[in-house]
Symmetry: C2
Subunit: 401 residues, 2 copies
């Protein structure tokens, strides 16, 4: 399948992807667009021009309205966009609505309803257990039976590029807690899914219902203050160690664009309870990449995640909790077994015991002021075409306390 | 101060209160109203009639727009409503806009942004620690240094009266986890505050900023499935044991209506870190009451809560987390030292060891299908006038699994 839009080699934005985002040009209101090559297709203009249905979905500063329209609409829109971008006959009509990515600002793609963060990498859970709970069993007793998750702060989910002010807070000191800027500012490279179609209160959504409710996937950086987290998190879980910021990619990759990336997840032993069983394989061949100040420090493999997205969705709703359009559910830190496959600095540097040494000679246990983190991800598309999510970047600003 | 509206003795809805809610009459759209005696004053109509400013705040199905307008507007509106409801000269103009509470449906009063639940009763924390972590210290090491809190699910905050379907989930069994309806369905009687004015990302709100940001207080029932919670909550905190439903009162009591209820909170030893210190006393003389199937089973005293609302707000934002209009922060279960002052069944019945015996002879360790819980609260108003929150009720429906 070829598009008439120029797509550079290795671009993650071929016509096989068509991720949705929200963009604006200077002086214009944000609207919905689709990334293709090095441009964004203005869906609001396209619908005004009569080339695409229902302008209300696209002349909006968030994807929520379109996401709520449901799977048939998502597929019909994707089919139509594919026709428009591959049919040479449409080029003259469509080309005026392509804007260079360099000319636009990218916004938070959707209004986040609830944000849930899981803990679904066995390697990550094992690594972190050793650090936070030395001497304890490497996995909590519930870990192999359910995808552990908790609610994060949806109001501080921010778009890629948002500066991250180093958070202040309490941490354990030698003689009681001390207050100050976190000394252990960390990242967590994750992949999240976004709910389009809501569900009714009291009615669980099964693993088979995943495609009817979930619109797409984003890349997530769940910034973490490890010293704050370590002091506060027992017994009710992480709070201020996480709630200062969570960055997401500007593009939401549709579920349909990830079909070729689907693969068998790791075997689950013991077999999960029936509500967590899934007929279809929902491991995803996605490779993440973490850059620190321009140096690649890790390439976490998403395909090894123990719990899959449909299992997470079924678990989160099995008690009857309702879904809303814009619910974001993130995988938890993606870590593989290798030293350079870990998705957080606490793991990469063994909580400061073995700091990273960057090619420029700099050493990093945790992030320093001025550091820039960039996370990228590429899924396996059809015929080896890469499917990209765009960057999730953030630069650390000094604390204000 | 006397109103010309009839207010029965003991009503919590005297003119000293003026709590805000959202109501509708059959066939009409929801709009903002204020409770007075046994009626609700229709603020949308009142503003259409030119008796109150800015109709957009009140012709809305949620308080959020009005709450975001800020303290000066809240005070001016309260002053104006007081004049209208106490000045006999206004009676003829205002009376047509009073509707009997019996004729209206009360809705969720505001769209919930993020929902945070604290754990601020020392008696509750001690009681629950003994049950969940027998043999451990009665308080976690961080408890006296910070108001422990976590994020709950904002999408399942429901108005009083919403039926509660018994949730299903995993719980610990003798031979691995078992799945089924919770056998330990519980309540948590709490008082929450609601944010009106947002704050900027990266900028903490001090304890002194409480009045500038917080619009009012609601009564909360944080329904809990104790067996689900006990199995899932380590290490990342409660998730499905709480996320199926949280009920709130239909009325938001303005901060200004609680001035007379303010009292010194318990002494805090050790002294908290400077960011948690508060110049004004923000204990609140509020007595809660829990009824189970019409029988009063507890009267938890809110004045004894260890951590106060301004401390909770300052803590939740000290890391730079932004506030949004509609953020709900609940106190955590309100329990006093007495046997009949505990705010949850897990405490009242010692996790089933000493079930409650109701006056009708029924025994209850936890809730059974068909049970109805009603929580009420009365704050100390000026001159002994009670300030009410309205009921938070819910009836348990059988599980669907």
């Amino acid at each position: 399948m070829e598009t008439w839009v120029p797509v550079p080699d290795g671009s993650g934005f071929g016509v096989q992807n068509l991720p949705y985002g929200v963009f604006s040009r200077r002086g214009e209101l944000p609207r919905v667009g689709v990334a293709i090559g090095e441009r964004v297709l203005d869906l609001a203009e396209l619908s005004t021009a009569g080339l695409l249905a229902d302008r209300r979905w696209f002349a909006s500063g968030a994807l929520n309205s379109f996401m709520s329209a449901g799977r048939a609409v998502w597929q019909a829109t994707r089919d139509r966009l594919t026709v428009l971008l591959t049919g040479a006959a449409y080029r003259d009509q469509v080309e005026p609505h392509l804007v260079s990515l360099g000319e636009v600002e990218l916004h938070l793609p959707f209004a986040v309803a609830d944000y849930v963060d899981f803990y679904s990498s066995r390697d990550h859970a094992t690594n972190v257990s050793r650090i936070f709970r030395p001497g304890a069993e490497p996995l909590p007793p519930n870990w192999l039976h359910l995808p552990i998750g908790y609610h994060g702060r949806s109001g501080t989910v921010v778009p890629s590029g948002t500066p991250i002010v180093r958070p202040c807070g309490q941490r354990r000191g030698d003689d009681g807690p001390v207050f100050g800027p976190t000394a252990k500012l960390d990242v967590e490279a994750e992949v999240g899914f976004v709910v389009g179609v809501p569900s009714a209160l009291g009615r669980p959504v099964s693993t088979a219902g995943f495609r009817d409710h979930v619109f797409g996937f984003v890349l997530v950086n769940d910034w973490s203050a490890r010293d704050v987290q370590a002091w506060e998190y027992q017994p009710l879980g992480p709070f201020l160690g996480k709630s200062f910021a969570t960055s997401v990619s500007p593009w939401v990759v549709p579920v349909a664009a990830l079909e070729s990336a689907r693969t068998a997840p790791p075997a689950q032993v013991p077999e999960p309870l029936p509500y967590l069983r899934c007929d279809e394989p929902w491991g995803l061949e996605i490779t993440l990449q973490i850059e620190l100040n321009g140096h690649v420090v890790s390439r976490p493999p998403f395909a090894g995640m123990y719990w899959t997205a449909p299992q997470q969705l079924a678990h989160a709703t099995v008690n009857g909790a309702a879904l809303r359009t814009g619910d974001l559910m993130a995988s938890g830190t993606v870590s593989g077994p290798g030293r350079h496959e870990r998705g957080s600095l606490i793991e990469l540097g063994s909580d400061g015991q073995e700091p990273l040494v960057l090619p420029d000679g700099e050493r990093r246990a945790y992030l320093e002021d001025g550091d820039t983190v960039r996370i990228q991800a590429t899924a396996a598309g059809p015929d080896g075409v890469p499917i990209g999510f765009g960057d999730v970047t953030g630069t650390v600003l000094p604390a204000l306390c």
